[in-house]
């Protein structure tokens, strides 16, 4: 299924490649990190930061921007790479990831990084803040500005997420779009064994949300879902959720095969291989 223009697709695919490479560079700089999740969500972030979001790279505080809220603070390295791909921060700054005095801490914080809207990390906070922003924009007559919140499947364990899900529908926040990364893994193991939260579509639908579920690593599907969501976004309509099934470490076979994917430790000699595999995969895709 694709009605996406090939040029657009190629442009966003290139951005996704750059984001993944940025993630690997940050991982290599630290030797470890939440690299698996970041590689898995790269396609979604490429679609957001290099296609759909309205923002000004040179003016991150521009009041007319769409908001993209990263609840999952540990995905920060993915967002930093997306901010670099979008021109908000310099690409070379990625090498300071998690270093002392860096603007790019291990867990994302609004107070540190230009373009980072909230301080994530304590999970279950993002959707509530998104509700407030969507309501706040609407009450000021700015309901055409969209509020996106990227959360994870593990985050759906938190009751506060469901308080916010109820609230978003109660207030008919059609300017709010949640994106859930369903990578199936959390700190203690497989999500289905830690605290099963399927069936996802039914749960969100029961809370009054419009639901799409896609393969979050199929870029054409991601772009289509974003297009549908943007077209459906009515200021007093139902809130929307895009459920994205993603593959941890997607695009880098040497990392995909690792077992402890929640917090990856990678040997120094593996990073160059990872980058070669990423590039080879991307070039293969192009052909």
């Amino acid at each position: 299924m694709t009605t996406i223009d090939q040029q657009r697709l190629a442009r966003v695919a290139e951005a996704a490649y750059q984001i993944r490479m940025g993630v690997l560079e940050q991982g290599e700089a630290q030797g470890e990190g939440y690299v698996g999740q970041a590689l898995g969500i790269a396609d979604v972030l490429a679609a957001a930061y290099c296609d759909k979001l309205r923002y000004r790279p040179e003016e991150p505080e521009w009041d007319g921007r769409d908001r993209f809220l990263l609840s999952i603070g540990h995905y920060a390295l993915a967002l930093y790479a997306a901010l670099a791909a979008g021109g908000v921060i310099p690409r070379e700054e990625l090498l300071t990831y998690a270093a002392d005095d860096s603007r790019l801490p291990m867990s994302g914080m609004a107070t540190y990084t230009p373009g980072m809207e909230i301080s994530g990390g304590s999970l279950g906070h993002g959707l509530g803040q998104a509700v407030g922003m969507a309501l706040g924009l609407r009450v000021q007559g700015r309901g055409d500005q969209l509020v996106y919140n990227l959360l994870s499947d593990g985050e759906l364990n938190e009751g506060s997420t469901w308080e916010a899900a109820m609230s978003a529908n109660h207030f008919r926040l059609g300017n709010l779009i949640a994106i859930v990364d369903l990578n199936g893994l959390q700190a203690d193991g497989r999500t289905e064994t830690v605290l099963n939260n399927e069936p996802q579509q039914d749960r969100w639908a029961a809370f009054g949300w419009q639901v799409q579920r896609i393969d979050g690593n199929d870029l054409a599907a991601v772009l289509t879902a974003f297009d549908v969501a943007a077209a459906n976004a009515k200021v007093d309509g139902a809130p929307q959720v895009i459920l994205c099934d993603t593959k941890l470490a997607c695009g880098v076979p040497i990392l995909e095969s690792k077992e402890k994917l929640h917090f990856l430790r990678v040997a120094a000699e593996e990073w160059p291989v990872a980058k070669e595999q990423l590039t080879a995969g991307y070039q293969g895709q192009e052909k």
């Binding site: 301080s119 509530g128 803040q129 309501l135």
Partner: protein, 326 residues
């Protein structure tokens, strides 16, 4: 069997007999502020009628948001609203604002330094419902939160001044809200509320009581009664508990007078310990007697009985001062 005292716990008045009151000063002050500042919005977690937010809701239905019994999302949403340029005031009871929603006030509002204003009714021991509703440790919970300003108003005069002051501060605030028919006593004294300042409301040569919240009202009433015993009592009111005005308080305590603190809160982690810390930092070994709640879950019952049992009533303050004078 004696006739049970009507507890009417949730609406129990804190006004002593003969003290004049003002109805819903918070709601009216919020309306006055909203009339001149269109950034002001109100939220509540299913407690508008019990926090005087209903006054604002009636006047500004388009700027009022009923969040339901969902304190976590209320705090997060208030932070989100502040992040897009609004000035939210959010109300619930103190127990829920502190125990249930701490993480959300801390990380969503305080860490980014957002203008989120929490007005929390039933602070300390102001209901007879028992520990589920008695926020006897709310200040202790919140004092360690960076960036947060904590107000403990004595009466309606303070509440009316705190609302615009809280909005004018760039960061988050927590106000120990007095609601309903709120005593008005500070207008009888030469007193003006100032953020971050302790004020000598009443001078006195024999005893100094450093107090906050409704205990300032009780201390002032007790001071009048103690005058009949030829005891001259000074009352120093700390309407802002954080940041704490250590300079003023230490200067008032560090005199030959008998010194006490008086707070509607456990003696753990509140006003008494703020004073003690200020003294120790300066190497001052002055004895200070603490009037406050015990480190215990308080029993259910009629509020006047509980206040008398635990030393917060006007008469209990009088008895305590006389006892300490020996």
């Amino acid at each position: 069997m004696s006739q049970p005292k009507r507890s009417a716990a949730m609406i129990a008045s804190i006004a002593d007999a003969g003290v004049k009151t003002t109805s819903a000063p918070f709601g009216h002050a919020l309306n006055a502020l909203a009339a001149v500042d269109d950034r002001v919005v109100g939220l509540t977690a299913d407690l508008s009628k019990y926090t005087d937010m209903h006054i604002f809701a009636a006047e500004h239905p388009d700027r009022f948001f009923e969040m339901g019994m969902a304190e976590q999302v209320m705090m997060g949403a208030a932070a989100g609203m502040a992040a897009v340029g609004l000035v939210p005031f959010a109300t619930t009871y103190s127990v829920f604002a502190t125990r249930r929603a701490y993480d959300f006030l801390c990380l969503d509002a305080a860490e980014p330094g957002l203008n989120v204003n929490i007005a929390a009714a039933l602070p300390g021991l102001t209901t007879g419902y028992g520990p589920s509703h008695q926020a006897t440790e709310d200040v202790a919970i919140l004092r360690g939160m960076p960036e947060l300003t904590i107000f403990d108003p004595a009466d309606a005069v303070d509440v009316e001044a705190i609302v615009p002051a809280a909005a004018a501060l760039p960061g988050p605030t927590y106000t120990r809200l007095l609601r309903g028919h709120v005593p008005r006593v500070l207008d009888e004294y030469d007193y003006t509320f100032e953020v971050g300042k302790a004020k000598v409301v009443r001078p006195g040569s024999d005893v100094v009581i450093v107090s906050s919240g409704l205990m300032t009202m009780r201390a002032l009433l007790a001071a009048e009664k103690l005058a009949e015993h030829k005891v001259d009592v000074s009352v120093v009111h700390c309407a802002t508990l954080k940041p704490f005005d250590e300079e003023t308080v230490v200067a008032e305590i560090n005199t030959p007078r008998l010194a006490l603190t008086a707070e509607n809160h456990t003696v753990v982690g509140g006003l008494f310990e703020s004073v003690a810390s200020a003294l120790v930092k300066r190497g001052i070994g002055k004895q200070v007697h603490a009037i406050g709640l015990p480190d215990a879950f308080i029993e259910a019952g009629a509020l006047p009985t509980l206040h008398d049992t635990h030393g917060l009533s006007t008469d209990a303050v009088v008895r305590r001062v006389l006892a300490e004078l020996g």
